[in-house]
């Protein structure tokens, strides 16, 4: 993998700063971050998991999303690079998925079957605590991340963690809990909306997600707001159209 370009990196940092002063939505923010990280490092897919109150890793956002990827993120509740990064507070770098079946017997074969060859995971650190992990999948092994790349991606992961504290009263631990719980619930609403759209149109949940995400982008709405409308207002199911 080539080293990360300074200009593109600077652009991402400006964009992140811009998000943080705007009206802030945690899910949108995390989604933007996974998207930009994927572009920046030339990864196939980047995902982000946060620990809920019980310490279980929950999928929050990814640069790409489908049933197979969701399973890959979900299984890391039990094993996988994100769980390792979460528990050790250290990144997992350049793991070759074809050599990883012994380390992650459930995760590795699934990731390989999904077309990935390499995987990385970076802990999301907030003060002394690890609150989740950033997951980077690559389609190729070889030319892995060097030390400089690792530092940059870890910095992006740290920004994601800081983003969680965006609401004003930074000293209040309660705010983090409130915001995280709100975002976890919004994630559920997105899944419910996929199901509703899939049933209404007779399509797969992955196709439903493409429609919902496309509509959110075209109308400049938050994904979680569109999803919420879909499951609370049946009329929305017919008015939302494909491009």
């Amino acid at each position: 993998m080539t080293s990360i370009s300074a200009q593109r990196l600077a652009k991402v940092f400006v964009e992140v700063a811009d998000t943080l002063v705007d009206e802030f939505d945690l899910l949108d923010f995390l989604h933007m971050l996974t998207d930009r990280t994927a572009n920046l490092v030339g990864a196939s897919t980047v995902g982000l998991l946060l620990a809920d109150q019980r310490g279980r890793l929950q999928f929050m956002a990814a640069s790409d999303e489908n049933t197979m990827l969701l399973e890959l993120f979900q299984v890391q509740n039990e094993e996988g690079p994100c769980l390792d990064a979460y528990h050790t507070a250290r990144p997992v770098i350049n793991a070759d998925l074809r050599q990883a079946a012994a380390r992650w017997p459930r995760f590795a074969p699934r990731a390989a079957a999904a077309g990935f060859r390499a995987v990385h995971a970076f802990p999301l650190r907030l003060r002394q605590e690890v609150i989740g992990a950033l997951n980077v999948f690559g389609a190729e092994v070889g030319g892995g991340f060097d030390d400089g790349d690792v530092q940059i991606i870890q910095a992006l992961a740290d920004i994601a963690a800081i983003g969680l504290l965006q609401e004003r009263a930074i000293s209040r631990g309660e705010v983090l809990t409130e915001q995280l719980q709100g975002a976890l619930n919004s994630r559920i609403v997105i899944e419910q909306a996929k199901g509703a759209m899939a049933q209404a149109r007779g399509i797969s949940v992955d196709e439903a997600f493409t429609i919902i995400r496309g509509h959110a982008r075209r109308t400049n709405q938050r994904l979680s707001d569109v999803a919420h409308t879909i499951v609370t207002d049946p009329a929305a199911l017919t008015t939302i159209t494909s491009p």
Binding site: Q74, K194, V231, P234
Partner: protein, 253 residues
């Protein structure tokens, strides 16, 4: 679904919080004159208050528009404080429902009077110094709120917060499963906790909502009722629904 008996041996490590909370509830005396769902919720409130070193706790079941349905509390004073919010039309419980996230107020005197000008002083007069409100919801299906009241200011510890979320989960299951299944259904569901957070289950909820033309909350109830009636696992039922191998019968409620 695995039989609910013998939590102590059959429950895995990750399910221990739920099992612990269930035990707290099981050890409460049956609600005397109060039977059914309200009685179970009342025992849940008493157990939650005890486990969280709180002066009391209350549950308000609410309609989507915010109207209050049945309510339960650990004691008469908590019932009054809970009801107060609906009389003055403001408070942490109402905010938690509207914002769809917890509202945690470790110090009721600390600058919250402007947030709830009527509620904050009235609750303070009742001796409440901290309020923690947890929405009872599964995604967009909103069922109500669990409120925990404390007579001293200060935050919930990490362990207390985890326990509070466990009681919240338990209250959600109790309301969804209704009085008949309240204890056994929730206990069996406790064995299934990882599944209850799978993307497939939430997708299935949205699908059943559209398929049966019911509300999302009703869809959750139908899926759970079907699972219990067929003695299956929630995750398997959800998978079959998403794969379109299973359509719930519109009359099967």
């Amino acid at each position: 679904m695995a039989p609910p008996g013998g939590w102590g041996t059959s429950v895995s490590d990750t399910d221990e919080p739920i099992a612990g909370a269930m035990e707290h509830v099981a050890h409460q005396p049956a609600g005397g004159a109060v039977d059914g769902l309200v009685g179970v919720l009342q025992r849940l409130c008493t157990a939650a208050a005890g486990a969280l070193s709180a002066s009391g706790a209350g549950v308000s079941v609410m309609a989507e528009g915010g109207a209050r349905g049945i309510a339960a509390a650990s004691d008469p004073a908590s019932a009054r404080i809970e009801e107060l919010q609906f009389i003055v039309g403001e408070g942490p419980c109402i905010d938690a429902f509207a914002l769809r996230r917890p509202v945690l107020v470790p110090d009721l005197t600390d600058g919250v009077t402007h947030r709830w000008p009527a509620y904050a002083p009235a609750a303070h007069d009742e001796g409440v110094r901290a309020v923690f409100a947890f929405p009872l919801q599964v995604g967009a299906a909103r069922l109500g709120v669990l409120d925990v009241f404390r007579a001293r200011a200060g935050p919930l510890s990490g362990a207390e917060l985890r326990l509070a979320f466990t009681f919240t989960d338990l209250a959600v299951r109790t309301i969804l499963d209704g009085q008949d299944l309240a204890v056994e259904g929730a206990a069996a569901g406790g064995l299934d906790e990882a599944i209850e957070h799978s993307a497939e289950l939430f997708q299935a909820q949205g699908m059943v909502m559209v398929q049966l033309g019911v509300s999302l909350a009703e869809a959750l109830v139908r899926i759970r009722a079907h699972t219990y009636a067929q003695n299956r696992r929630l995750g398997d039922v959800a998978r079959d629904i998403v794969a379109r191998r299973l359509r719930l019968d519109p009359d099967d409620s």
